[in-house]
Symmetry: D2
C-alpha cells in the first residue's frame, strides 16, 4: 500500500490570470507546497539548518499535464506519490484533485525530479547522497521503494 | 532554416527564492514571455479582441529540464521554436541561454503545448481550429511546418 | 467590540526571495487572502456572479509597514479590521502576527482602500454604491461603523 | 535639477489577474525593478558580494496609490526619485507612466523606504550606515540631497 501525502490549497485571486483561471505556472508552486508538506510529515523541514546545513533540493525536471482549469476559490487536494528514490535524487508525482460537492475531479497531473545537493558558501551546488536518516524515513513511509 | 524567435529577460530579485536562484516555476513565466513576444512578432496580440474575440491558448502540457541555475541579474535569451503545428494546437520548445562574457550557456530547456479555444461568456472553453490568418502567418514564418 | 476577521497562512518557499525572507510584495497577496476570506465569512464571494455580475473591488491605496521579516514555514495570522465604510469604498487594516511558541509577535501592519465598481463588457470600470445586502452584512458585523 | 532614473516594463500575462488588470501587488515588484536598475546605474549591484558582502536593503515601508489600471501588454515607464537620503536609509518615490500614442499617463504613484543592513551568517540583520562610496555616488547623482 503506497504512502501518499495530501496537501490542500484554495486558489487565491493572485493565483489567477486575465483568462479567469489559475495561471499555469502556479501549478508548480502548488506542487512544491505538497513536496514541502511531505518533508514536514516525515519530521524534518526542507530548511532545517541544525540537521543538515546547506542541504538543498534543486529541480532537474518539472512537468504538468493540464486537463481542466482551476478557478478562484476552487479547493484542490494535491496528492504526492514518490515514484522513484535513488541515491541522490527523488521523483514525485502530483495529482491535482478539485474538491466538489460530488466526487473529486482530477484536473492536472504533475511530476518533479529533485536532486540532493549541498551548497558551498559561494552558492555552488554539489550533488550528494540523500542523508541516511532522511532516506530511512522515506523508506519507512514507502517500504516498496526500498529496492529501487 | 527554421524560424526562431528570441526574447531576452533579466532575472529580477522577485524571481529568486531563498536558495538564491530563480524559482523553478518562474521559468514557465519566462516561456510565456517568449510565446507572447512570438505572437506579437507575427503581427497580432494574444488578446487582440478586435481580431478574435474570446480567443485563448490554454496549456495542455508544460515541462522544463533544468541544467544550471539562473541567478539575480543574469540575462537570459529564450529561444522559441515551433516544434509542431496542428489544426487546433501548437507545441513550442524553449531554450534558455544565459548570456555571459564568453559564449552563451544553455541552462534549461522547456516545452509547451497550447490549444486554441474560444471562451463563452460564462468562461467555458471550447477547442477550435487556429484562425486561418494566424495559421497562415505561422506557416509563412515556418515553411517547414506546412505539412505537419 | 469591533468585528475582526483572522486568516492564517504559512510562508511558502515560493514566497521567499534570495534575501531568505518573504518578498515584501507578497505581504500584499496575504492581505488579499484575508480580505477575500472576510467576504466569504459574510456569506458571499468576491466573484459571486449570480449575486452581482461584474462587481469588482479595485484598490486605490495599499501600504505596509514592516517591522520584522517573515521566513519560510513561519505561520502568520492576518487580522483584518474594517477601518472605514463609505458609500462606495472600504478601508481595511491588516495586522500580521507571527505565531510562535510564546505569544504572537506583530511583524507588519498594512492598509488597503478598495472601491466598489461594476465592469462593462469592454473592461471599463465605474464606481457604484456598495450593494445594499453587502453593506448590510458588513454593518451587522460591524455595528460601530454604521454612522461613518 | 533632480536626478531621475527610469525603468521600462511591459505588463506580462502572468502579471494580470482575473479582473483583467495587473494585480495590485505587482506594482511593488515593478518598483523594485526600478530601484535595482537605479543601483546598477550608479555602478553597483544590490548583490555585489565582492564590494559589500552581506549588504541588504530590507523595506520598512511601501505604499502605492492607484489611479488607473494597467493591462496586458501596456508599456509603463517607472520614474524613480530619491526623496530622502539619511545615514542608514533611503526613501524613493515611483511614478508609473503608461506610454500611449499620445502623451504618457500617470497611472500610479508609489513610495518605498529601505534601510541599509548587514546580514550575519544566521540571517540576522543589523542597520548600518550606507557605505561611503555608495552614499557618495548617490550624492553625486543627487546634489540637492547632500544636506538632508
Amino acid at each position: 500500500m503506497p504512502y501518499e501525502f495530501k496537501a490542500r490549497r484554495m486558489v487565491e485571486f493572485s493565483d489567477t490570470d486575465m483568462a479567469g483561471i489559475m495561471h499555469y505556472a502556479n501549478f508548480f508552486r502548488f506542487m512544491e507546497t505538497a513536496e514541502h508538506g511531505f518533508y514536514r510529515s516525515l519530521g524534518f523541514s526542507v530548511v532545517d539548518m541544525s540537521l543538515h546545513p546547506h542541504l538543498g533540493w534543486p529541480r532537474v525536471h518539472a512537468s504538468c499535464d493540464y486537463r481542466r482549469p482551476l478557478r478562484f476559490e476552487d479547493v484542490v487536494e494535491i496528492h504526492l506519490l514518490v515514484l522513484e528514490k535513488r541515491q541522490r535524487s527523488l521523483t514525485y508525482q502530483f495529482r491535482f484533485n478539485k474538491l466538489t460537492e460530488e466526487k473529486p475531479e482530477e484536473v492536472a497531473r504533475g511530476r518533479l525530479s529533485v536532486v540532493c545537493v549541498t551548497r558551498a558558501p559561494d552558492g555552488a551546488m554539489k550533488a550528494v547522497p540523500i542523508p541516511a536518516e532522511i532516506a530511512k524515513r522515506i523508506e519507512l513511509a514507502l517500504p516498496e521503494l526500498l529496492n529501487t
